[in-house]
Amino acid sequence: MAIRELKVCLLGDTGVGKSSIVCRFVQDHFDHNISPTIGASFLTKTVPSGNELHKFLIWDTAGQERFHSLAPMYYRGSAAAVIVYDITKLDSFQTLKRWVKELKEHGPEDIVVAIAGNKNDLGDIREVPMKEAKEFAESIAAIFIETSARNAVNVEELFQKISKQIPPLENHEDETSESFKLSRQPAASTRRCC
């Protein structure tokens, strides 16, 4: 199976649990064969999808306002962006809307956007109604899911949904190393023509 590397960018306010979601995703089924990354800001995980293997290269970003301006460097070339908000913090949902807007303006075309409402284990202090978030997601054709990194709820599903939305390889921009190989083969076969 061909391995396809997919860059996924994590956006969202500080403290909403961006890295918790990813840590949960990556570490729950930790594959010891895969060389671990040096820290939790950048994590990778490979999952099967159809007849491909998707290797998620997950780029975490710093959510503080002062780092906002650096975000373009992180989401450039991303196949998908996961924007996380905290269902117990309305502010974080507002920030999410700003991210959506910025991605629309400056993000890669065809980027798959997924909206994750984290901390749904804290439903009793919820500030963001699920319905509102869901409608917003639908309005921008984004994936929507509520997760709980703490209880490992819907984390796997979130990335499965992303996997499904990734267009097949032909349409994908040639950023992965896989496409390097493909493009090289013709050259290789033509060169021994003596």
Partner: protein
């Protein structure tokens, strides 16, 4: 210090591991040398009685570990590479004639057509378009199984080539084929070179064959030889009778050595009689083979006890016989004759042994093993065929070294003795030369290292569990307790992670096997050892000039271990809690010797990089002229770039173009595909580009970037802001909760950054950056135990960068950003590079941030711009892109020659080039000048409408390249060309 402990008698407890370590290396190296020689010596003269002498005295086995003897071998022993040049080995023949048999473009049909007219065993290598794999197509015997041609896919895993059905891996295709020319392994018989190649006596003959390329097969050369009786093909003229006894002895000892490990004698033949002073072995070559884990080499160094070695030559096909081509001239040693008789008498020698089981537990001829090959085969870098241990270590680690009764063919054996007798203690220092019988010696010199040797080595490798490592044997010897193979000793090199990830140099791995705490740190950095550093972070001292940041034997063994000799000792001492461990002198000497051997080995990767680098300096090659022209252009014209980024991008583009060119051109000989597995080629080319382009330009780039920084005022601003940021507390930079590194740690990080500056390769720089990041994580996590994401890490990184107060870091990051292989930008290296860039951007704009809490719009625009730039897909370079530079010399009567490298597009006319020259050289009267092509003393004025770049390309394309120059000079006869130029006008026009 080293002398206080007598050689060979190191303090047992301490040397236990270290001793074994050195032994491992030692035996490993020896084995490699041996194998090389086998490849070299395969063709030997063939005599009527092919036989093998083996395993005489035990000491013989020891000889090849003996430094004096090794030294005395004068090149023969060294590595095989020298010998390669002097003699024509199978490997050499193969390499030189690859245009004949390495026909990647040939279809299956065509391959079949070619091979049908050939005798069995003849082969070629092609590439299946459907499978996208290389295929070894072999002519079978007529009577075999219907199909006249067998097509065997070649499996390429990381840095190794192997046949699909076999567990034996090779460093490159040539070695693979060479091996199968002398050993059949999974093939029905050995491969055979076409007669004309196999019997070629001179380089010239090989060249002739090679020049025919695929046409060879239809040529008279090919068919003419075909009529020769194959049986008397003299494959073996390479063993020169002049070789010294020493050599012979060394060789034989090796042979014996390997033989001694073979546990594969058919059980029926294994009687352990009391040892005769020597034994005669016969062999059969058609057995399955496996290969050699060198670590076992010394294990069974002990006197052979069995006289009944398996009959070796009893049954062989003609092909085997002739292919093996080695023959042992058994002349007249009475002892031997006698023994022959004995063997014959007991009747077993002629008994065709049953075909032994396949070497591996896997079913033979399995059509398509699952992609992940045998575990050990897949990732290890090998410069030589290496054993793949497929058989699980199911054997109990009993104290007996009972050889499993696994008849393997390689059959000569020696193993029975093992079962009974404890190993003879082997002193760690070289055994003294032992007396030997002269006549035996002379026999030995005729013993070829042939497939049998390999077979034995191979079969030995199959039995790892029941054999202690060489190191163990030695240890036991040292300790005087020849009893039990220790569990730990069973660790073999193949088990030790050899840090094979050269392919991804961003990942660094440590070798768990080298558990002495021998952190790889070349000696030049020894001074910097700080004990504070945890060992996992210790290897950031990288000796980049050795260009093998990656994997290689050399990297792993030589580079890391030889130079760090001192370090190792020191470390050992430390790790043992001050126990004064002293490296025995003997070990040291051996270690050096081993290093010497290793240094002559190169991984294919490294060889390829070296080859490309050499070619890049050779201006007579097209590639070389492109690179050199570009380098001189950059050196002369670095001012022509608008910014550092622009400059770096041009460099990056050039490297990308050159990589594409190398992939498409046939200038590399042998072709890269035969040396490097397909999926590694890009990385190898990338490394080569760093070496060819970035290394010579390192200082130029540094200066240029610095100049841009100064000119734009950015440096000053950066310094000011750094000073401001440095004064801030972590909290003011956004750090929330996590504990920042203390000043000591900051100093350590600074040191790592300084090391980073020394590298010319962006990948290497990035790997050092990763270590810094890892250290920061470690500090953060040590203090809290939790995982930190970017919310915590990025502020901390910003704080650390500010504390380090290194303005030069800015250009470092810029360098990496722009020059790193684009395919790596999405990975971990790319991520932390981006973070470092971000941290630096924040610091650069610190004042504004203080004021506005956001980056200036200008800074934001820069980021966006940068983002767009890196994401816009670059159009694939074409060959035309490589021709942008033209070196033109201005020849003046009075001032002599001055040359400039000009940017000249492929379709730029001579006329335009003249204009450019006039401008660049500041010629007041351009009409009096013209462009001339000077080839070997003849001079030719170029017409205004010609295209110099195309002329250059054509000249480079000629088979015999002459040196040529473009010279801009005064036209000798003014009347000749001025009118033409005038007619065309434009001559003043400057691009």
């Amino acid at each position: 210090m080293a002398s206080s402990s007598p050689p060979g008698n190191p303090p047992s407890g301490l040397t236990d591991r270290s001793g074994s370590f050195f032994k491992l290396i030692d035996t490993f190296a020896s084995e490699i040398g041996e194998l090389k020689r086998e490849m070299v010596q395969t063709p030997l003269t063939f005599d009527k009685e092919p036989m093998d002498l083996q395993g005489l005295e035990a000491e013989v086995c020891g000889v090849y570990l003996q430094s004096p003897s090794c030294a005395g071998l004068g090149g023969e022993r060294d590595s095989g590479y020298d010998s390669l040049r002097r003699r024509m080995s199978v490997l050499e023949r193969l390499t030189q004639t690859h245009p004949v048999w390495l026909l990647l473009a040939v279809s299956e049909e065509e391959a079949t057509r070619i091979l049908l007219t050939q005798p069995p065993g003849v082969f070629l290598v092609r590439k299946s378009a459907a499978l996208q794999r290389k295929i070894l197509s072999v002519r079978l015997k007529e009577d075999q199984s219907g199909t006249p041609i067998s097509h065997l896919p070649v499996r390429e895993s990381q840095y190794t080539f192997s046949l699909e059905e076999s567990g034996i891996s090779f460093a490159d295709l040539f070695r693979l084929v060479a091996f199968y020319c002398i050993s059949r392994d999974v093939l029905p018989f050995t491969l055979k070179l076409p007669e004309a190649i196999a019997s070629a006596k001179t380089q010239k003959e090989l060249e002739e064959a090679a020049q025919l390329g695929a046409g060879f097969w239809d040529s008279a050369l090919c068919s003419q030889h075909r009529t020769f009786p194959r049986a008397c093909r003299p494959l073996s003229r390479t063993l020169s009778p002049q070789r010294s006894n020493r050599n012979r002895e060394g060789e034989e000892s090796q042979q014996r050595h390997t033989g001694a490990h073979c546990d594969s004698a058919p059980p029926t033949l294994r009687s352990c009689a009391s040892p005769p002073s020597f034994r005669l072995e016969r062999r059969h070559s058609s057995g399955p083979l496996c290969f050699v884990t060198p670590l076992f080499l010394q294990t069974h160094r002990r006197p052979p006890r069995c006289e009944d070695d398996p009959p070796t030559h009893a049954v062989r096909s003609d092909e085997d016989l002739e292919n093996e081509g080695k023959s042992l001239k058994l002349s007249s040693s009475p002892g031997i004759e006698q023994h022959v008789d004995k063997v014959k008498l007991n009747g077993k020698s002629r008994t065709p042994p049953p075909r032994p089981p396949p070497p591996r537990s896997m079913p033979r001829r399995r059509p398509a093993p699952p992609p992940p090959g045998p575990p050990a085969a897949t990732t290890r870098p090998k410069s030589m065929p290496v054993a793949v241990t497929v058989s699980p270590r199911q054997q109990p680690t009993s104290t007996k070294r009972q050889a499993p009764a696994r008849p393997s063919m390689g059959g000569k054996q020696g193993s029975p003795s093992k079962t009974a007798s404890p190993p003879i203690p082997v002193p760690s220092n070289p055994p003294p030369p032992r007396p030997k019988k002269p006549d035996l010696e002379s026999h030995r010199c005729h013993i070829a290292l042939d497939d049998e040797t390999i077979a034995k080595a191979l079969s030995r490798a199959k039995l790892p569990p029941c054999q202690p490592t060489a190191a163990d044997a030695l240890l036991e010897g040292n300790a005087g307790s020849p009893s039990t193979p220790k569990e730990r000793g069973r660790q073999r090199l193949s088990d030790m992670s050899m840090s094979t990830s050269s392919s991804d140099s961003l990942e660094y791995s440590h070798s768990p096997g080298f558990s002495l705490g021998l952190a790889p740190s070349p000696s030049r950095h020894l001074n910097h050892q700080d004990t504070v550093e945890d060992s996992s972070d210790d290897d950031d001292d990288v000796d980049e000039d050795d260009e093998d940041y990656g994997v290689s034997l050399e990297t792993d063994l030589e580079m890391r271990h030889r130079p760090s000799f001192k370090a190792r000792r020191r470390r050992v001492g430390v790790s043992l809690g001050g126990g004064s461990f002293i490296l025995p002198r003997a070990l040291k000497g051996r270690f050096r010797k081993v290093s010497g051997m290793l240094s002559s080995l190169m991984t294919p990767e490294r060889r390829a990089v070296k080859r490309i680098a050499e070619m890049s300096r050779d201006k007579s090659s097209y590639f070389g002229s492109l690179v050199q022209d570009y380098i001189s252009f950059v050196q002369e014209n670095r001012g022509c770039h608008t910014s550092g980024t622009d400059f770096l991008q041009t460099l990056r583009q050039f490297m990308t173009q050159m990589k594409a060119y190398l992939r498409q051109s046939s200038e590399l000989d042998p072709p890269l595909e035969s040396l490097i597995p397909e999926d590694q080629i890009d990385q190898v080319l990338e490394k080569a580009m760093h070496k060819c382009v970035l290394k010579p330009l390192k200082s130029v780039i540094e200066v240029a970037l610095h100049d841009f920084q100064v000119k734009s005022g950015a440096l000053q601003q950066l310094k000011e802001n750094l000073a401001l940021a440095k004064a801030k507390r972590p909290q003011e930079l956004g750090v929330d909760g996590a504990v920042p590194p203390d000043p000591l740690a900051i100093e350590k990080i600074r040191h790592k950054f300084l090391n980073m500056r020394k590298m010319y390769s962006p990948e290497k720089k990035v790997s050092l950056l990763l270590r810094v990041c890892k250290l920061i994580y470690t500090i953060m996590q040590d203090n809290s135990g939790r995982m930190y994401g970017a919310d915590d890490f990025l502020p901390m990184l910003t704080y650390v960068v500010a504390q380090c107060d290194m303005p030069q870091l800015d250009t470092e990051i810029q360098f990496m950003m722009e020059l790193l292989d684009p395919s790596l930008l999405q990975g971990e290296g790319g991520y932390y590079l981006t973070s470092a860039y971000g941290a630096m951007a924040l610091i650069k704009n610190f004042q504004e941030e203080q004021a506005a809490r956001v980056l200036s719009s200008e800074a934001r625009n820069t980021l966006h711009h940068w983002h767009r730039r890196r994401t816009t897909p670059r159009s694939a370079p074409t060959v035309d892109d490589f021709q942008n530079y033209l070196r033109v010399a201005l020849q003046e009567v009075d001032t002599g020659c001055t040359a400039k490298t000009l940017m000249v597009q492929p379709y730029t006319t001579t006329e335009e080039v003249c204009s450019l020259c006039a401008y660049k050289f500041k010629i007041p009267d351009p009409n009096a000048y013209a462009l001339f092509l000077v080839i070997e003393g003849t001079r030719q004025q170029l017409a205004p409408d010609t295209h110099p770049q195309r002329i250059k390309a054509e000249l480079h394309g000629r088979p015999c390249a002459h040196t040529f120059h473009f010279v801009y000079r005064r036209i000798p006869n003014l009347n000749l060309f001025i009118p033409a130029i005038m007619d065309n006008g434009n001559c003043i026009q400057v691009e």
